[in-house]
Amino acid sequence: MIDLSVNIAGVRLKNPVLTASGCFSYGEEASEIYDISRLGGIVTKSLTYLPREGHPPPKVVETDSGMLNAIGLSNVGIDKFIFEKLPFLRQFDTACIVSIAGSRVEEYVKMTERLAECDGIAAIEANISCPNVDEGGLEFGAYREPAGRVIAEIKRRAKQPVIAKLSPNVTDIVEIAKSVVANGADAISLINTLVGTVIDIEKRSFKLSNKCGGLSGPAIRPVALAMVYKVANTVKVPVIGMGGIMTASDAVQFMLAGASAVEVGTACFIDPMAPLKIIDGLRDYLARHHEKSVKDIIGKVRRS
């Protein structure tokens, strides 16, 4: 028996494969296709306090080995999530991680307080890649200071462990990681999408209504892996890696680099069964390498 379970900030995951925020909605659609209890965990679409429609179409564009999205945080809002989505998710035996996003520290705080009253939430993932309207629209996650501050405020109210999800669009991700950990983050997840765009040369206009979007998928995997490696080698808290993970072999790369778990995003679009195939492939890899526990490969890439 190979032990696939891992521990993230006190939360036991039956396996290290989670679905990434914004790439699984609130689980309902996938639950019609397979038993989502088989997943290590689910990260919900990022919630805002009030519901959001998000940007008008076109919201996505395909790129070479990747895609851009400018969904604009379409979500049902914290209330509807708590009353309609959470009870649904509670039926499943998988870790439910709630992603929250806001343009003001205040918003994160209010959501954390609401979530503190709820059962069945394994952890909160704070998506700090949103424009911080109080400080001129730059991402919270772009600078050490605001990143640390918003995590500290969340942490103060949170009843559940807090995972800080980092943006890759920074000069020194290790600095940001240290800052959120110093401010209480129980774990770190990375990476969110890279900023990118595509232009329609016939229409001479941007292909996305929002001009720029976030790049995800296999194209960004090398960038994500380098960042995960650097962060996991610096901070003491567990790291959840993501960015272009399509197969078990990709997931193994992230775990060897130091991730204690992985999130699968874009791959869920291409193949709904991708997360399950990754779990199975992970087990096969461990068997082939005579490993008894997935924990034994975390961070095991040779450094020389």
């Binding site: 699984f24 996938a30 805002t48 429609e53 998000g54 919201k59 080995s65 869920c268």
Partner: protein, 252 residues
């Protein structure tokens, strides 16, 4: 045509499948195709496609017997045809496959082919899809081309307008490029007629998890406040569509 197991058994007219055209990451997304025909007994599933870009080119290069990754059936599909009303099916270009399936289903359920008017149009003769199967159903399709190289000269919308004129109670089922559907929608609004439109959209996932395919619709009256104060509501074409009721969509 695919050996498609359960997909063929479950398929309803207006639904679609996602086809992964390559085994690697180029192109990344699967491609959506309407179900053109499905035989629950043989598990054969038929799609009809035009070579458009790299995904469809890859599909065309496949040889019989090769395996492809299919996923479906997806989408809401058309509501069953109401035999009490006159029915017009309006297919622009590659909109024909699902409407054929709808017509066939209606005929199989006992509707007389004479109650259905089937308009099949394209830019020109070369782009017209093979309509032989429509005749086999007993339909007498009205063929039209924008340039008059085959059938009536005029767009599907032009012909639809002519066909609508003498009628009072009629339901329109339309599928084609969004630009055509927009025109059809305006036409129906003017005549206060009911109808169903099957939309196109880019579809990263096809089953509702990414929001990438969303289309603007009129917000429901009871929506309440939103963070981004949008004057529109978004619906996902893949799962809340691809079929929308006339008047539902907010066109650009």
């Amino acid at each position: 045509m695919f050996d498609a197991g359960d997909i063929a058994t479950a398929a309803k007219p207006g639904q679609f499948i996602q086809v992964k055209t390559s085994d690697d990451c180029f192109p990344l997304w699967p491609r959506p195709f309407s179900i053109h025909d499905a035989d629950p007994v043989t598990a054969h599933l038929t799609i009809m496609f035009r070579i458009y870009g790299s995904g469809t080119a890859q599909m065309a290069a496949r040889r019989p017997g090769e395996l492809m990754h299919l996923f479906g059936p997806l989408g809401n599909g058309f509501p069953a045809v109401d035999g009490n009303l006159d029915v017009i099916l309006a297919a622009g270009g590659i909109g024909l496959p699902p409407l054929y399936f709808l017509a066939k289903d209606a005929v199989e359920k006992g509707l007389s082919p004479h109650k259905m008017t089937f308009i099949a149009g394209a830019k020109s003769k070369l782009e017209l899809l093979n309509e032989a199967r429509l005749f086999e159903l007993g339909l007498r399709p009205v063929i039209c081309t924008d340039d008059g190289t085959a059938g009536r000269r005029g767009t599907v919308v032009d012909v639809l307008e002519q066909e609508l004129a003498p009628r009072q109670k009629v339901t329109v089922y339309a599928c084609g490029p969004n630009a055509m559907l927009r025109e059809v929608d305006l036409l129906l609004a003017r005549g206060n007629l009911s109808g169903f439109l099957s939309l196109e959209a880019l579809m990263p996932c096809g089953y509702g998890i990414c929001s990438g395919c969303a289309v603007r619709v009129h917000p429901p009256a009871d929506r309440g406040p939103t963070d981004d104060r949008c004057d529109y509501h978004l619906k996902r074409v893949c799962i809340e569509g691809p079929v929308f009721s006339a008047g539902e969509v907010m066109w650009d």
